[in-house]
């Protein structure tokens, strides 16, 4: 009950936000909110593998960055009127979101499939270290692309258009992000309550029993990991639009760590919790950064205390319900 009220309240707040901010003459904050929603999408996608699948991925920054770079690079080539690939067949740049965003999701999804195929052969600490290492590999691969700015990153000259409709200004992109978050939450909730989700959760709780039941545990996990990577890539594409800039920083291990923090802060295994976690963490970072240059010295210990002494995250505070445990 409280859960429904909480979801409804957050939804109403997010839908009202553009109008309220417009009325308060603070419309620039909408861009900040869009960034929060993009991270919320990525955090919810990570929760799918982390909370429900029990796979602690320390490499989701790679998927976020890959999605951002795909969208950014396609826009870059469109503005320069040069092909992305000239041979054997020509692929040009594009500004059309209906092409670029699925492309971003597909690229990140394929990457997740490849990384997952190797990493999921292992468990526990191995898995954490290996996803971290592969994300670092992708980071260096992107650095090795001098035509896309290398360490300096790439300015994204324009925004995507949606079915020909340009996403100029802050509001259209905000709505796109909000719709994507809502869609993903609805689909993921349904999937986690369906056979796929039950099998995935069962495999987390007791792998041996799941295998004995004849469940294809490895393939289930790989499917969840790939889906999660693809959605994280989509979040990256939104970020590229929001910031008009993509940089290797998006692929760094710090970004992967931050996504993990968002999930835990919000409450793992709840899907809605990580959305709150993302909004809360980014807001806290902004506030602390305004306070002092050394804001990490506050955030670090605060995070430590949170991990040591609290259980269940924000979602539990709000709804009184723990995650999928």
């Amino acid at each position: 009950m409280r859960e429904r009220v909480a979801v409804l309240a957050v939804a109403v707040l997010l839908i009202a936000a553009p109008f309220v901010l417009e009325a308060l003459d603070e419309a620039f904050l909408l861009s900040v909110l869009t960034r929060m929603l993009a991270y919320a999408l990525a955090a919810a996608a990570l929760d799918l593998v982390l909370g429900y699948g029990g796979m602690v991925s320390f490499g989701h920054g790679a998927f976020l960055g890959t999605g951002a770079y795909v969208a950014g690079v396609l826009l870059h080539h469109r503005a320069e009127a040069t092909p992305v690939i000239a041979s054997p067949f020509r692929i040009g740049g594009t500004a059309e979101g209906l092409v670029a965003w699925p492309a971003a999701a597909a690229a990140s999804g394929l990457l997740a499939l490849a990384i997952g195929a190797v990493s999921l052969r292992t468990r526990g600490v191995h898995f954490i270290m290996i996803t971290l290492a592969f994300a670092q590999m992708v980071f260096f691969l992107v650095l090795a692309l001098p035509q896309y700015g290398g360490t300096d990153g790439l300015m994204v000259p324009d925004r995507n258009v949606l079915a020909g409709f340009p996403l100029r200004g802050d509001a259209p992109l905000y709505w796109v992000a909000l719709v994507l978050v809502a869609l993903f939450l609805a689909v993921a909730r349904t999937a986690m309550a369906a056979r796929f989700g039950l099998a995935l959760r069962g495999a987390r709780m007791n792998e041996r029993r799941a295998l004995a039941l004849g469940l294809p545990v490895y393939r289930l996990r790989l499917a969840a990991f790939t889906l999660s990577g693809a959605v994280t890539g989509l979040a990256g594409a939104i970020l590229a639009n929001q910031a008009s800039f993509v940089s290797p920083d998006l692929l760094s291990w710090q970004r992967s760590g931050e996504l993990l923090v968002m999930v835990i802060l919000g409450g793992k295994g709840t899907l809605f919790g990580p959305v709150l976690g993302a909004i809360f963490l980014l807001a806290a970072e902004e506030e602390l950064a305004a306070l002092t240059e050394h804001w990490m010295l506050i955030l670090g210990p605060a995070l430590l205390l949170l991990v040591l002494f609290s259980r269940g995250g924000l979602w539990r505070l709000v709804t009184g319900r723990c995650g999928d445990a």
Binding site: V125, A133, H294, M296
Partner: protein, 306 residues
């Protein structure tokens, strides 16, 4: 010319490898015995480098700096174990990752406050500043040779400690079955603290020794920590022997790839671009190595329960 380059780069690879070993050894022991993943292990390396560089600058003695760096690593490790890690033994790996991630943020910012954001300089001591002719016509920096010797000495010491002493016996027993060791009356709290201090001392030592070769700066710990993870995954979790083999393999692969890829790529790209591309592609080599090892042996080269 190529033979000269090969010798030089192989020595560089060995030097990098033994440094990786000094970090990976502590990490793998801590994991093996306490089942804890400690992301903040790189911070011990950073602390060693900063304290070592400061003490060297104040006293003018590199030897004192090395001692201070190792001591700083050990001390910080002890404090970390007593204050934070101790509470994480019963928790799952996710909590350990998050708590030690928070520690990294704190330590990195702390170093920025104390030493400022700019890299600080640590020179090799004057007697070691020159080169030595390792082979006829092949000069090599003396300091880097000393790093190799120190690293090998650390490996031998660790091998002796673990293979030949009572403490080592307990550590080995701890990696195999912690509950039994505890039931036999070993004070597991003291054992854990000791292992942490040993790991911290090695990381701190590696930090100071790295000072004159790499830059002493904020974030240095994480770059090498991730490579140390690769070492451990390649070598096999919990195995010091595996860490040694993995470290040399990763050190050589990384150095060779960075050194020889630019030579290969200069034919394909303009020189300046080739160097940048090749340097970053070279960094990818170790991860490919890891992927190959994992595909063949998911438990690493030296699995713990083999």
């Amino acid at each position: 010319m190529t033979a000269l380059l090969l010798v030089e780069q192989t020595l560089n690879g060995l030097q990098f490898g033994v440094m990786l070993f000094m970090i990976a050894a502590g990490l793998t022991l801590i994991f093996g015995i306490m089942d804890v993943i400690n992301l903040a292990h790189g911070s011990l390396y950073m602390a060693g480098a900063f304290v070592g560089a400061t003490v060297t600058a104040r006293t003018g003695s590199f030897g004192l700096g090395v001692l201070a760096g190792a001591a700083a690593g050990a001390l910080l490790a002890l404090v970390m174990e007593l204050a934070v890690i101790r509470r994480l033994y019963a928790r799952d790996h996710l909590d350990q990752v998050l708590a030690t991630y928070a520690l990294i943020l704190t330590f990195n910012e702390g170093v920025k406050v104390l030493w400022g954001p700019a890299p600080i300089f640590l020179a090799a001591p004057p007697p070691l500043a020159g080169t030595v002719e390792v082979l006829p016509g092949v000069p090599y920096p003396a300091y880097r040779l000393v790093v190799i010797v120190v690293g090998l000495a650390a490996a031998l010491f660790l091998g002796w400690l673990i293979g030949r002493t009572r403490l080592g016996m307990r550590i080995r027993a701890g990696t195999t079955n912690r509950e039994t060791v505890e039931a036999l009356g070993v004070d597991i709290g003291v054992l854990f603290a000791l292992v942490f201090a040993i790991g911290g001392a090695l990381a701190g030592l590696a930090g100071v020794m790295a000072g004159p070769v790499l830059a002493v700066q904020v974030g240095m710990g994480e770059q090498i920590l991730i490579l140390a993870f690769v070492v451990i995954v390649v070598g096999g979790l919990g195995s010091v022997r595996g860490a040694f083999a993995g470290a040399l393999l990763v050190g050589l692969a990384d150095t060779w790839a960075r050194a020889f890829l630019p030579v290969l790529m200069r034919g394909l790209l303009p020189p300046a671009a080739a160097d940048q591309v090749a340097a970053n592609l070279g960094s990818v080599a170790v991860y490919l190595l890891m992927a190959v090892v994992l595909a063949v042996r998911p438990q690493g080269l030296f699995p713990r329960h083999a």
